[in-house]
Amino acid sequence: MALSLALPVASPPDVGGRRVAGAVARLAPEEPGRPGATERAGSGEQVGMGDDELDVAAAYRLHGRDLFGFAVNATQDRHLAEECVQDTFTRAWQARARFDPARGSLRTWLFAIARNVVVDHVRARRRRPLRAVGDDELARVPDETDQPERLDAHMTLLWALAQISEPQRRVVVAVRLEGLTYEQLAERDGVPVPTLRTRMFHALRALRAILEEEEGDA
């Protein structure tokens, strides 16, 4: 799998038999999500774009938090993560003429840039002898000097997880990754089990769409 993603992004994925924009497919019907996540590729109504110009302030407001979420989980370093987000918007600004809203949402495009930026930063940090994060945190970021494919797979999963809605991600993280039962999560978050299961369903479908789209581009 290639680490570099082609820009601009490819066509939206096919989800559940419907041809839809990637970001739209990542939302459960009962969860409208943040405004930025509802962009529809090809609609000409790209939030964060105005008069064919990238509105960085609007784009940051809508997607900055999720981009930071990806970066901080990928690097395990807040300062480095903020630098990655800043670099992402810098690269987006520099490449704004190449963004084609007919081919994908601004959100998807920014996440594609962010992935390349984060991988670059993680590799650069690996080359430096002095590391700013604790051993325990660093151990959670695979070292590609041993297994490059592990770093790639790790980044891909975090990247996909960062793109789904927060309620969906909470269920996946709690139940699938941290081993809570739906009942335990329902008690913790005050959300009924059927709702949590439905969120898990839509989360997994969204993740499948994101991963398939990414692997189709690679």
Binding site: P29, L54, D55, V56, A57, A58, Y60, R61, G64, R65, F68, G69, V72, N73, Q76, R78, H79, A81, E82, E83, V85, Q86, D87, F89, T90, A92, W93, Q94, R140, A153, H154, L157, L158, L161, R169, V172, V173, V175, R176, L177, E178, G179, T181, Y182, P194, R197, T198, M200, F201, H202, L204, R205, L207, R208, L211
Partner: protein, 249 residues
């Protein structure tokens, strides 16, 4: 989506994550019998779920950090994308800056304190000074002008502490740039904006310090809606307050 569809989705998710009880398993079997796509979907989603297992942390550890970006990051992003909108005057590079320079720009715009001598961070006096030759400070205009620096006049106070402030209007909100000297070290100070109704909108907080500090805080309220800038203690005791001129519409 119909209730039947929701129930189907729920059962599929429960099957993928091995959470079915006996009655639900029988219900799912019936669904499978009537719709072969159910099993296909379970298989597809289980493959995704299996892949996610690579992210599982050790026992008791958290698998996902929900950290929030610092309030300063928005300003740093704008500053690093020249011409994209209203950039913080002190942090706009002319070309893609080096990593240390970018970090400094973020620090300059941060809620966190920047001690004198750290270098590069422009304080209020520098921002409003007529002697400054920085091209960055070219944006001028009446209150509410995007990117322009607007000096703030606090009401007279007997407190010997020296507090200067300026505002910068942005498309995403309002930034307050502060120079502070003489406030007790370690004391928390909240910076709030008040709108026409007197509703407080927090812009952040800072700590008093033994050295002069320069900091910048941001709030998600447009300059045209801000009527008062206030620095206050956490219990609401006002330390400094300034009535702000109305923005011409």
């Amino acid at each position: 989506m119909s209730t039947a569809d929701e129930r189907r989705d729920e059962l599929v998710a429960a099957a993928v994550t091995d959470d079915l009880d006996d009655a639900e398993r029988a219900e799912l079997d019936a669904l499978r019998a009537s719709d072969p796509r159910v099993q296909a979907e379970i298989d597809e989603l289980r493959a995704v779920s299996d892949r996610l297992g690579a992210l599982a942390p050790g026992p008791g550890a958290s698998a996902w950090r929900d950290d929030e970006p610092s309030p300063a990051l928005a300003g740093a992003v704008l500053a690093s994308t020249e011409g994209s909108g209203s950039a913080r005057p002190s942090a706009r590079p002319s070309a893609r800056p080096s990593a240390p320079r970018r970090r400094l720009g973020m620090v300059a715009a941060a809620v966190a304190l920047v001690a004198v001598g750290a270098g590069g961070a422009l304080g209020v006096q520098q921002l409003v000074s007529d002697d400054t030759a920085e091209d960055d400070l070219a944006v001028q205009g009446p209150p509410g002008t995007l990117g322009a620096v607007e000096p703030v006049a606090f009401a007279a106070d007997d407190d010997p502490a020296d507090v200067d402030a300026a505002l910068v209007a942005h498309t995403w909100g309002t930034e307050a740039v502060l120079d502070v000297e003489g406030l007790p070290p370690g004391q928390v100070y909240d910076v709030v904006f008040l709108d026409a109704d007197g509703t407080e909108v927090s812009a952040g907080a800072f700590l008093g310090s033994a050295v002069e500090i320069h900091c910048s805080v941001n709030a998600a309220i447009l300059r045209e809606d801000v009527r008062v800038l206030r620095i206050q203690l956490p219990d609401g005791t006002v330390v400094r307050s300034a009535e702000l001129p109305a923005v011409a519409t």
